[in-house]
């Protein structure tokens, strides 16, 4: 059933974000063509020679660059906004009946939503990062210095594959924990009221309170670590790892419980 839910969630995500993604790619390509074809040399100089002002087309290039980066930032943040909005609607929007009537236990529904949210976020962030990279590379006329720095970064990552993998997994786990906390806060607010003027402040307040609590806990754990050890060149402690696990598991269990037993539609 989890596989069926994953397929369903991915399909929904694709249906809801395909136009945004398509529109972004088309816009980025147009802006890239405009800068590289029409502003060619000026653009290259602006990127490779820092402080180069007063060139022909520099104003146009500046505007296009800002636009390009604004769109990239939009794509970068779109999955966050879409996931939060979708989860809120799945619990209390028009389609909530369709979602809540699915005869599958709530923790599986939440897990499927979470996996799809993390995957989409990573994909969108990679697309945004690659588009920015492409912009810099094309407009710098594939400047050797820039290319070398990219190669250096890739080589460093490849030289320590386990550390890189560990760092990637840690990032994904952090992302999942963040989403889980947001989902828990939404579920909590929706278990109290479906009215947005009541639910939204409760949800935001809950998130700020939980986040502040987590920061205080992280600081305290850092000050008084229990069982310290090195893991892939990074200093870790058992208390920190237990806290990270709890920071994921507690909101996950809480959101699943609320969805199963408390949220009504």
């Amino acid at each position: 059933m989890l596989v069926k839910l994953l397929g369903y969630e991915l399909y929904k995500k694709w249906k809801m974000s395909r136009y945004i993604l398509g529109g972004f790619i088309v816009l980025q390509v147009i802006l890239l063509i405009v800068t590289s074809v029409f502003l060619g040399t000026d653009a290259t100089k602006m990127i490779t020679e820092i402080g180069n002002n007063g060139q022909n087309g520099s104003f146009t290039f500046g505007v296009i660059t800002i636009l390009y980066f604004v769109f990239a930032a939009g794509v970068f943040s779109f999955p966050f906004i879409e996931t939060i909005n979708r989860f809120e609607k799945d619990l209390s929007g028009k389609q909530a009946v369709l979602e809540l009537m699915i005869p599958i236990i709530s923790w599986k529904k939440i897990l499927a939503k979470l996996i799809v949210a993390v995957v989409t976020t990573v994909v969108f962030q990679m697309i945004a990062a690659f588009s920015v990279l492409a912009y810099i590379l094309v407009n710098s006329d594939f400047n050797k210095k820039i290319l070398d720095s990219i190669v250096d970064i890739v080589q460093t990552l490849m030289a320590t594959p386990v550390k890189s993998l560990f760092a990637t997994l840690s990032f994904l786990f952090f992302l999942a924990s963040l989403y889980m906390l947001i989902m828990f806060c939404i579920a909590f607010s929706k278990s109290i009221s479906h009215k947005n003027r009541i639910a939204v402040p409760i949800g935001i307040g809950m998130f700020i309170a939980c986040f502040a609590l987590a920061i205080v806990a992280v600081i305290q754990i850092g000050r008084f670590p229990i069982v310290e050890f090195g893991l892939f060149g990074i200093e870790r402690s058992l208390s920190e790892m237990i806290f990270n696990l709890l920071a994921f598991i507690l909101p996950f269990l809480g959101a699943s419980y609320l969805m199963e037993k408390r949220i009504e539609n």
Partner: protein
């Protein structure tokens, strides 16, 4: 065989008592009407059976199972409002039901679609209110669920479509299941009901076999409704 057993069910929202001491039993193979004016608690009661709302008092059992995510497999519920995504085509809505409901009868759904004059490539956001109602009803009736719950299936549809919907309900009804219908249009649904429950301010005011009530009171259900609710 008792398919649904409801005992002293109550629902309270803060200080507002929406349902109170509702008892109801539905035997297999029956079509039961839950009749009452707006605000009488009909939709709340149906949502409790569908597992979307939890009662604050009493006990509900569907095929001897207490309400949980598992009973959602036994219940096909038609809500009184749109619930499909606007980006969906009818084919995609059908795919969702096939994916999650093992009892979804594809052949029956296709027959119902034909009967309702709908096609798979139509998009939900291009359908009229009546067509949306027909699609939602087709999806619900295509399930071989034990208990079929229809909340105002005739709401917002023209008289011709109402007739079509009633025919579809009777065509799709199976004796292994039971059906619970709410409606304001008593005249329209009267002919298909085996039993009726009149719900007034969250309480069962009157109930019984439809034919027995008509004989006993020498009135149609519509007239009994007007008498019970003094309108």
């Amino acid at each position: 065989m008792k398919l649904l057993e409801v005992e002293s069910v109550g629902k309270k929202y803060f200080k507002k008592q929406v349902l109170s001491g509702v008892d109801l039993v539905i035997e297999q193979g029956k079509i039961v009407g839950l009749l009452g004016p707006n605000g009488s608690g009909k939709t709340t009661f149906l949502k409790i059976l569908a597992g979307l709302i939890r009662p604050t008092a009493g006990r509900v059992e569907i095929c001897q199972n207490e309400i949980s995510y598992k009973t959602k497999e036994l219940v096909a519920y038609l809500p009184d409002s749109d619930f499909l995504y606007s980006w969906m085509t009818i084919k995609e809505a059908k795919a969702v039901y096939i994916r999650f409901y093992g009892d979804f009868n594809i052949q029956r759904f296709d027959e119902l679609l034909d009967f309702m004059k709908l096609t798979g490539d139509m998009k939900v956001n291009s359908l009229s209110k009546g067509m949306k109602e027909k699609l939602a009803l087709s999806l619900t009736l295509a399930r071989d669920a034990k208990l079929i719950i229809l909340d105002e299936p005739l709401n917002g549809v023209d008289p011709v479509a109402r007739e079509q919907i009633l025919v579809a309900i009777l065509k799709a009804f199976r004796l292994e299941s039971s059906m619970l219908i709410t409606s304001h249009l008593i005249n329209e649904v009267e002919s298909i009901l085996d039993e009726v429950y009149f719900l007034k301010e969250g309480q069962v005011e009157l109930y019984g076999n439809a034919e027995d009530l008509r004989t006993e009171k020498k009135m149609t259900l519509d007239e009994i409704y007007r008498e019970v609710f003094a309108c």
